[in-house]
């Protein structure tokens, strides 16, 4: 997939301004294991960064939710279903995600939808 970003700074943005990062998983070694989709060797998984389509803080939060391993794989399941599954399993997913998803202005499919 060719990169047609307006500015390459977006492509190489560092992760520090995302506050919804998975704090409880910081003990794990942070390998960029999902970099396979775009094959770039940057520090941050490129799937989290947009390529031309605009995204906002809400989408960033939802993408962090998608990437969080504790709630299981995100491919092939809608975000709301995944949230409800995590809730049923007793994993205590953050309530903000649920309210965002039910709010209706966000993408209901995971970030890999249509790309994998």
């Amino acid at each position: 997939m060719a990169t047609t970003s307006k500015n390459m700074n977006v492509f190489y943005r560092q992760k520090k301004n995302s506050s919804a990062s998975t704090g409880k998983k910081s003990t794990k070694s942070p390998s960029p294991k999902h970099a396979a989709t775009f094959g770039s060797d940057i520090t941050q998984p490129p799937a989290l960064v947009s390529h031309g389509d605009d995204f906002d803080e809400q989408e960033q939060v939802l993408r962090q939710f998608d990437m969080n391993m504790a709630y299981g794989p995100c491919v092939g399941i809608t975000r709301l279903d995944r949230w409800e599954r995590a809730q049923r399993m007793g994993l205590n997913p953050p309530k903000e995600i649920e309210s965002l998803l039910r709010g209706g202005k966000v993408k209901l499919e995971s970030l890999f939808d249509g790309r994998v």
């Binding site: 391993m69 504790a70 299981g72 794989p73 491919v75 092939g76 399941i77 279903d81 399993m89």
Partner: protein
Amino acid sequence: MEVDSQEQLQRKQSTYLSLDENFEIQKEVYRGQQYSQIYFARLHMMRTLLYSLVPNWKSHLPVCTVLELKEGKECIIFGTLYKHMKLKPCILDEYSKERSVAPLIKPHNFMHQDDYLVLEDESGRVKLGGTKLSPSVYVTGVVVALHGKETSAGAFFVEDVLEAGLPPQIKRPLKSREDKYVVFVSGLSIGRSSSNPLQFQLLVDHITGHLGDEEEQGLAAEIVHLVIVGNSVEISRGLLNGQNLASKDQSRLCEPFKELDILLTQIAASLPLDIMPGSSDPANFALPQQPLNRCLFPGSTTYNTFRSCTNPHCFELDSIRFLGTSGQNIDDLTKYSEAKDKLDFLERTLRWRHLAPTAPNTLGCYPFTDRDPFLIDSCPDVYFVGNQEKYETCLLKGLEGQLVRLICIPRFCETGVAVVLNMRNLECHALTFGTQISS
């Protein structure tokens, strides 16, 4: 001899409760999900369970994930086992340039001495070493807890294994019961050229009380339920090769069902019966197999005693819990591991608390997203498997006082043997029907 005797024999009855909801897939929606979802559900459920068992096992050791392993640090890890098998058929073999590697004749069992086990969780996987965990016993899909440490070679040396063990069992009420029998039969294979219709007719006549004197009929009146455990029909291969069928062949296709329906109507008129699909029945291929369509049994479905059930099948009779399959799960274990007999495989599935650990790896399975329906969370009183070579049974005792009757039901078409279980004391015996006239 009086034709109409004064007292009519009444058949005994028992209360039936179906617990097949877990195995039904009508409500499931396929959205393109892959099998990672069902593996995640399985790992999560089993890990939560194993985590609660760890304090009783080795409370002093830390728990960590695979990626957090450090060389020499003794710890406990949880994960799903994956067995790398050299001889396991792989779709890529068809595309490989060298054709001489894989044998043309498929072996019945794919084990090899070079097989090794790998443990996998969400963070990563690690090869397992040591002799505690034998690759001939375990299969892909079993979730375990392992105690050990990482070696310099990057493998995990296993010092001890924790399996989930038998699930807790709901205690049956101890009131003194009368003798009530449940009959299991499997592998009728009606439609096979070698099947003998007289054998099954004899079974039907015996159960419905049309055979024997009053004492025999009295025994038959104590049979409260019949379970047909899969492979009731066999459609000849020639009709299934994808060609358009002539009308003559179409009627040949339906004959086994008509024959089966006639016999099942006789049974359903007399006592409750459950019929489960098997690998040769016209049901879906992937587990859990859905109930055979009622249109196949126009005569029997008019009776409310006739029940078409899923495979696996779980039900309660007088609060005794029965759980069983038509054999695909055990047959798959036979292909990918070894044991001294089939009862051993049954016991292992109970100790792993999973009916079919090799699903979806080598056994067809529906891609559930939010649960794994094959997890056994309550220990059954009777655990059966159909379509096996011979009749075998044993009583399994658990550490917390669980008592399970394990039964391997043989193929009726080949052996003429049905299995009878007494619900009062969980004793089992075989009922053999022969049609040879000795000269």
